[in-house]
């Protein structure tokens, strides 16, 4: 090509999006999982007791809790079913280990579709290195997707 300074960003656009980098284009304005996920979801550690976590989660008005390590890397998930378990059990035993997680850049409409089809009430949103961004609630995803759809219909 005759160019002497050529660099290859090998990890590419996926890496950029997964890290939450700014983007341009027709899809730039569409709502994405990272912007809709609730960052204030309760979290807990592996060695806590389920009973104490359940009380804390209920007091905060939630019915789900994400299990993370000291660096906020997601290790597991406690939904209503898991939270109703033996209060004396350790979180490590009670939790749903290794839940499916999704990146912040995933378009909300597509994720909402999957959550509805598979009857999944919520899903952790994480960075590409597994750190928690927030918990995406199915109802929030549907609401955001609906709003985006309406906004598209209103554009001239």
């Amino acid at each position: 090509m005759g160019f002497t300074q050529v660099h290859d960003y090998v990890a590419g656009k996926l890496d950029w999006l997964a890290a939450g980098g700014p983007i341009e284009g027709t899809g730039a304005a569409q709502p994405r999982a990272g912007g809709v996920a609730r960052a204030d979801v309760p979290t807990c550690a592996l060695d806590e007791r389920l009973g104490e976590v359940r009380e804390r989660v209920k007091a905060a008005g939630w019915d789900a809790c994400v299990v993370v390590n000291g660096e906020r890397v997601v290790l597991g998930l406690l939904r209503a079913g898991e939270l109703d378990g033996d209060p004396g059990s350790r979180i490590e035993q009670a939790m749903r280990p290794g839940p499916s997680t999704f990146r912040p850049h995933v378009p909300i409409a597509e994720l909402a579709h999957f959550l509805v089809d598979h009857d999944v009430p919520n899903a952790p949103i994480t960075t590409s290195d597994g750190r928690l961004v927030g918990l995406l609630l199915r109802d929030d995803a549907l609401h955001a997707a609906h709003q985006a759809h309406q906004a598209e219909g209103e554009e001239p």
Binding site: L14, L17, V106, H118
Partner: protein
């Protein structure tokens, strides 16, 4: 004689999987494997990938 547990095949690629990657149910009628789910949600590249032109 014991019956084998139901196993799900990925509804997209038909790869044998023992449960749906998204909902974790072995009897999910639209079970999806990790790879197909990641591709569908743009977290991975479908193979082979066309660079266009």
């Amino acid at each position: 004689m014991t019956q084998a547990a139901p196993t799900a095949g990925c509804a997209t690629c038909e790869r044998a999987i023992d449960r749906c990657e998204l909902c974790d149910r072995p009897d999910c009628p639209t079970a999806v494997c990790y790879r197909c789910l990641a591709v569908a949600l743009r977290q991975a590249t479908p193979q082979p990938h066309d660079h266009g032109g």
